[in-house]
């Protein structure tokens, strides 16, 4: 979490805080992407998109370092044993009731 550009330094370091931030920035990127699909010449939106790409990358890296892989198929390294199916990293549909 050193070497990061501003927004990702904010907020706590807990898994939930990181996840919420990733969901927020992730949604901005989804929505901007859709807008740009039909407005490919909008330089202003592309600027916003590019800035968020950097933020998102740093957020992801910080999350993966602390909590393990976010995505499958070769997008993050793993320690032993294979972290993807480790019980310490719940699946997204598992809420806090149990």
């Amino acid at each position: 979490m050193n070497n990061s550009c501003s927004p990702c330094k904010q907020g706590g370091h807990s898994q939930d805080d990181y996840m919420l931030k990733i969901q927020q920035i992730g949604f901005l990127l989804v929505d901007l992407n859709l807008y740009l699909d039909t407005h490919p010449d909008c330089a202003q939106a592309i600027d916003d998109y590019n800035a968020l790409v950097c933020t998102m990358q740093e957020l992801r890296e910080a999350y993966i370092r602390q909590h393990g892989p976010l995505m499958n198929f070769g997008t993050a390294p793993s320690s032993v044993p294979w972290q993807w199916v480790d019980d310490s990293m719940p699946w997204p549909w598992e809420n806090k009731r149990r």
């Binding site: 992730g26 995505m71 499958n72 993807w84 199916v85 990293m89 699946w91 997204p92």
Partner: protein, 190 residues
């Protein structure tokens, strides 16, 4: 959350239009043992599975099946792409052409549209995993029959790859089933 990667899992470049094979390969897009049913089956079943390992297997194989839906769709598209209306009529695809043109739409090789009734999802890991293993074997034999009827290597090679993936998925589901069967808290006396 899902992301799309702009590439095929295995390269496909079919140079020759072949409506007969397009009609047959449709079985693996919208048919009862096809890739779309496989993807939806695993992605539905994963929620109520008992262990993280099995949730992972279903998530990952379900995701790979979506890549196979894309591969089969690509084959359908390339096989129909340049067909004339005359060729379509001779291949017996006029009803399909009437409803869909040369677009990709999930039907089986007899033109029956895809339905979610092709798969189950029940709150029981043993039941789900047995269905999954059977589904992989049924898809494997379907690929073998398709390969028997194809002569173009551009068609056979991707089919061979997809057939091999069915074998691997069967193996992984078998290991997932072992995990259920050998869990320490499993009831062994009835």
């Amino acid at each position: 959350m899902w992301y799309y990667e702009k590439r095929l899992e295995y390269p496909i470049n079919i140079k020759k239009c072949d409506l007969r094979m397009a009609k047959l390969i449709a079985a693996q897009l919208g048919g009862p043992d096809g890739e779309l049913g496989a993807a939806l089956r695993y992605i539905c079943q994963r929620y109520s599975m008992p262990t993280s390992k099995i949730k992972g297997v279903l998530t990952d194989i379900g995701t790979e099946e979506l890549a196979h839906v894309e591969m089969i769709s690509t084959m359908m598209f390339q096989l129909m792409q340049d067909a004339t209306v005359d060729e379509i009529e001779k291949a017996g695809l006029s009803p399909y052409f009437t409803q869909h043109g040369r677009a990709v739409y999930p039907v089986d090789s007899s033109g029956v549209p895809f339905t979610a009734a092709y798969f189950q999802s029940v709150e029981d890991a043993v039941t789900n995993l047995h269905e999954d293993m059977a589904a992989e074997q049924k898809a494997r034999v379907t690929y073998e029959r398709l390969m028997q009827q194809a002569d173009d290597p551009d068609i056979i090679e991707p089919l061979r790859f997809l057939r091999q993936r069915e074998v691997i998925h069967f193996q992984r589901f078998g290991e997932a089933l072992d995990e259920v069967n050998f869990r320490k808290d499993r009831k062994t006396i009835y």
